[in-house]
Point group: C2
Chain length 752, copies 2
Amino acid sequence: MKPRLITGKSKEAENLVKYVKPIIGTQKMGHTFPGATVPFGAVQLSPDTDTLSYEINGKYNGDVYKYCAGYKYEDKTIVGFSHTHFSGTGHSDLGDFLVMPTQGALQMNPGTADNPKSGFRSAFSHENEVVEAGYYKVKLDDDKIMAEMTATKRVGVHQYTFPKSDQSHIILDLMAGMYNYDDKTVWTYVRVVNDTLVTGYRQTNGWARTRTVYFAMSFSKPFKSYGQKNFEKAQVYRGFWRKFDQTKNHPEIAGKKIRMYFDFDTEASEKIGLKFALSPVSQENALENMRTEVPGWDFDKVKQQAQSDWEKELSKIKISASEDDKVNFYTAMYHAFINPTNYSDVNGQYKGLDQGVHKADGFTNYTTFSLWDTYRSLHPFFNIMQPSKNNDMVRSMMAHYQQNSLKMLPIWSHYANENWCMSGYHSVSVVADAIIKGVYNGDAEAALAACVETANHRSYEGIGEYIDKGYISAEKSGTSVSNTLEYAYDDWCIAQIAKKLGKQSIYDEFIKRSGNWVNNFDKSIGFMRPKLADGTFKKEFDALSTHGQGFIEGNTWNYSFFVPHDPTGMIAAMGGAKKVASRLDSLFSMHLPDEFFADTEDITREGIIGGYVHGNEPAHHVVYLYNWIGQPWKTQEKVRMILKMQYKSTPDGLGGNDDCGQMSAWYMFSSLGFYPVSPGSDEYSLGSPSVKSAVLSLENGKTFTVEAVNQSDKNVYVSKVLLNGKTVTGHTIKHSDIVNGGKLSFYMRNKR
Amino acid sequence: MKPRLITGKSKEAENLVKYVKPIIGTQKMGHTFPGATVPFGAVQLSPDTDTLSYEINGKYNGDVYKYCAGYKYEDKTIVGFSHTHFSGTGHSDLGDFLVMPTQGALQMNPGTADNPKSGFRSAFSHENEVVEAGYYKVKLDDDKIMAEMTATKRVGVHQYTFPKSDQSHIILDLMAGMYNYDDKTVWTYVRVVNDTLVTGYRQTNGWARTRTVYFAMSFSKPFKSYGQKNFEKAQVYRGFWRKFDQTKNHPEIAGKKIRMYFDFDTEASEKIGLKFALSPVSQENALENMRTEVPGWDFDKVKQQAQSDWEKELSKIKISASEDDKVNFYTAMYHAFINPTNYSDVNGQYKGLDQGVHKADGFTNYTTFSLWDTYRSLHPFFNIMQPSKNNDMVRSMMAHYQQNSLKMLPIWSHYANENWCMSGYHSVSVVADAIIKGVYNGDAEAALAACVETANHRSYEGIGEYIDKGYISAEKSGTSVSNTLEYAYDDWCIAQIAKKLGKQSIYDEFIKRSGNWVNNFDKSIGFMRPKLADGTFKKEFDALSTHGQGFIEGNTWNYSFFVPHDPTGMIAAMGGAKKVASRLDSLFSMHLPDEFFADTEDITREGIIGGYVHGNEPAHHVVYLYNWIGQPWKTQEKVRMILKMQYKSTPDGLGGNDDCGQMSAWYMFSSLGFYPVSPGSDEYSLGSPSVKSAVLSLENGKTFTVEAVNQSDKNVYVSKVLLNGKTVTGHTIKHSDIVNGGKLSFYMRNKR
């Protein structure tokens, strides 16, 4: 290798971050946030254009679903900047510690979107917004304040440029947050330690039921005064109210609904910095996190480090593609590397599911596991590009299991809570994929035991009946079919671990269970269908509808293909390749009437192609099934169609929730030309790459190169595939083919 | 010394516990609790006959003041047994984790006192009650269950004897507690770890604003099933409600208003044991506390240890006196050794005022500092009989100061909270007394600095004006006079520390401030009187009234004598010994009309002698002032009168709140024949002992003996006093006279 100049390297290093457009997905259904975060960082410091905790005239402003990420591109005002945000979820929470700079008369209410000057919120315009990986900047029009923010793993760093004023303020809103529940904030405690340092915590009862976030906040300049207002309707009387004026310059603050303010004199264009560190454990840890990660007051240095962190991650894959495709690809990579998030302090401590303090020994603890989504291709993507982090994620899941009084692996877990969202027990898929692919370095037998215990938790969502009958009866559950199908796939994952570890009896048990999908398959109509407890199929059934039909986020047109671990068996059951081909073609070409679209959650009209719902996850593998029926060209053309139609480099460019990176991981896999149809297997199904080339730099030091010879928008068909110069027969490559390093060459043409 | 048989010693060792009658003070105003605790223990496991957190038909049952200690002798029903209780306070809090055994149909509401069978509470009768130091037993009539309880420092141990039943239950009420606030319980979290172990915590917003108590609860026998009911009016919807039945056998429980139940089959007379450990820090620490302090299931052994712990403390003073006086004396000693309470785990960790976890290095951390009461003679009593514990208490107060964002020593502090109750900054008296008497082994200069900073906290309750003007103006405060008087005394205490440490300028400053009492003395009427900001005395003034007259818990008849550090100066100001004698005589003989009694807080009619209010604290030193005006015989006769009238060995035997042991400490000092009129000095003023003799076994190994020659109820006058055989001239002895060991002989007679 030729040595390169450091300047050249530095310049090149800035090239990939520039393709990241965090604004993508902030409009309509993407539910991404535009603010500053570092890869897998605990802090996501981002503007909120509304939150659900703002009560205006007795009613909540906005709707809970719309504001999952706090920011809607369509909005014209910003309420403030809060420190925690989900990326792409369909359920809301977080939004902790909203900070807003103002000047002029102190306003302690947020005001309304229609009349932002009635409160501390401010009008803004996208023209005055800079949205980059690790950096966000906006001009707040009402008070003429420039707001900038960046972050480290555990610290949000703000920089506000004020006009000249003897009434400059920084508001700290401890009530605000995403969720549709009046009393989300259970308790708040704040200490003003000195005139630049404030610490405290906030406990919330939101989607996470028992959740406490500790903070330490430091100002670059001493405030001249400060105070608080308690918005509780009734407060318990305390004798000491006659001893102190607690509303002003009183350093000990506690209550349920508190907003604070800090006053400054500012010169023209004076910058005030703010460091805001989080901890799941204690104020002390938050302070240690701050002092370790951001010891000084050099905003630009933190910003550069944040962007350098992103550059380091992004540069693990260097693609050659159109500028627009690069934007989509690197923004997808950015979105894929936001969640799961770091959930341990610099000293390794974290709050466990048992609400006790634990130390992550030898690993980094992660939270925010949107597993129904992310097992499909986000964690498989990590197994290639982030294996050591995915190993830590599995270890985090094992810690969750050990701390769980129900002794189950996570279902949908965030911030030391299990919210039990969605169906299946897909942790076992993530565990299996990491074990099969040699990524998990923990105790595999213990992991298998955890998977088995999870899968045998009879009282959980029909598992008992599923074990006894091989399916969940329609009487018992409104999502009986999707549950049965997903359990069957998960059981196959468990069988794969058992096979690898030589546990024959566990293998036998679970490989048998993995065939349970057949119990919901109604041969008479060729679709998956709810079955009654008596063994007969439910009579009333509508194949286009989702709700009430036994499914979740997908009708039977999509879910009937959900046998990712046995497409061959599924095709046989459906009557053979020809019938399946026709069904798949119909899926992509049919028209879904509005009445049925209405109950397809989390997506826009654009999130659907025919009846194929890409904006939700259950059909994410479906386009690759053409490979199993001898029509790989349809996989190829449709993958390219989906990439074009479902991912656009605009604020409304995502047709559905990004779902903590699952939509983005699909994009990256598919644009690289392969996809993990059945995580837990070591095979990837081939599609049609959209990149011209891609070089994957692996953690083991090897590189894996994808090239698409004769690539163009029209050349979507693959004439042949060579792996290290040898023709690939069939439509799969193995995980080892990738991690051993090498070159995968697709030869593209414009016809099948 | 003659060696004694061990059996003899053991038998004798049981003799003192039998004089302790914890039932004393449980009727009317004493506000003591009858349940089980060990000396200074963190757990006070005691029956509650009502609590304020029981809402019946939208109204709270009972009144907050009445149920400060949870139990009223007058009541006919017991709601359950909770683990934390104040002893003798006039303000309520605590009452954590109420446990109640029942059998028959499960009842999750407490029911009413009128109809206990309508809920889980039960009728009981005092005939079926055994109330001892460290042991409480009662028969619960409704369900025919015998309840027994004992304790270690951090663990409450229950033993319930059930009848034969397949519907035996133990209720754990996580909502109950003392306080007058609907939403006292901020959050509750519970994990059912296995079929004998439950852990969790409860956060409350009561008198202590931000307070969390963690627990671990273990059953001697596995429960067959369990469940919970959430009594919140509205709960946030959670998707997983459709996945689990959370009301039964679901091990992860959280919410604001929760009651749990545990079901058992019981044979006739089957005993079920329950260990309930507390921690201020974590569930893990609670479990460690339990496993360390009560490893097994031998209830009787724990009981014996608890009573042996009490015996050890009680036997530090062996008195010869009438049986009734022994009951009063040892019960006073028992009440004096309940508070302050242990507030650190077996591993030394505790929650600090900053809500962070700290480790008490080299000391035991204590909480529950009712300092306005206890500085007067409880802490001075500790300086003789419990010096190492009092040293730890001062260290705990210093830790409080260091963790306090307001940088003040405690005022009235409990459970990592400052509740700012009552006037003055009397920590400085406790600190000074411990330093002057050589008890405090910490950094005395740092302690002095803390006292000075506390006394100079200008924004606290008139201190700024007090510093500037020498008094607090009547316009600014409703308790302006008592505040000024108490600050002046406290300032004198600070001066004493400064003098001892050779800090001349601090001495000068504070000895000057200690003369400020004179600023509220109106020579024209000879009484302390509110002064206006302009320097003139307030015109409207009623010497018999308390409220609105500038005082708290005492009118000017009592408070005018509050110059404990300078009786001589006070007497001069009042016009000399003769005038003062007449005033003191009037105080003890006057009649206080009902209208003025009504605003004297916390006492019964019996708590008053003439106009002298013994049931409150401000005049506790007053009877000793006769010594300063040449009429010591009046001190002698009146001390004996107060001892007789104010302390009786009956449930209603205390005329006022015991106030965390202050009333009891007064009893012990006075019955031994001396009293600390001005803590912070090393002198005790002599009175008239009521014991025949007393042997004080000191920590330094020495003994101090008091004997009253010719003692009888009529021989209340002292003809002479010998210290180690030498006549005591004057009316004082020094602290060193006591701690150096020796003998103090009072020669008694029936006339002056």
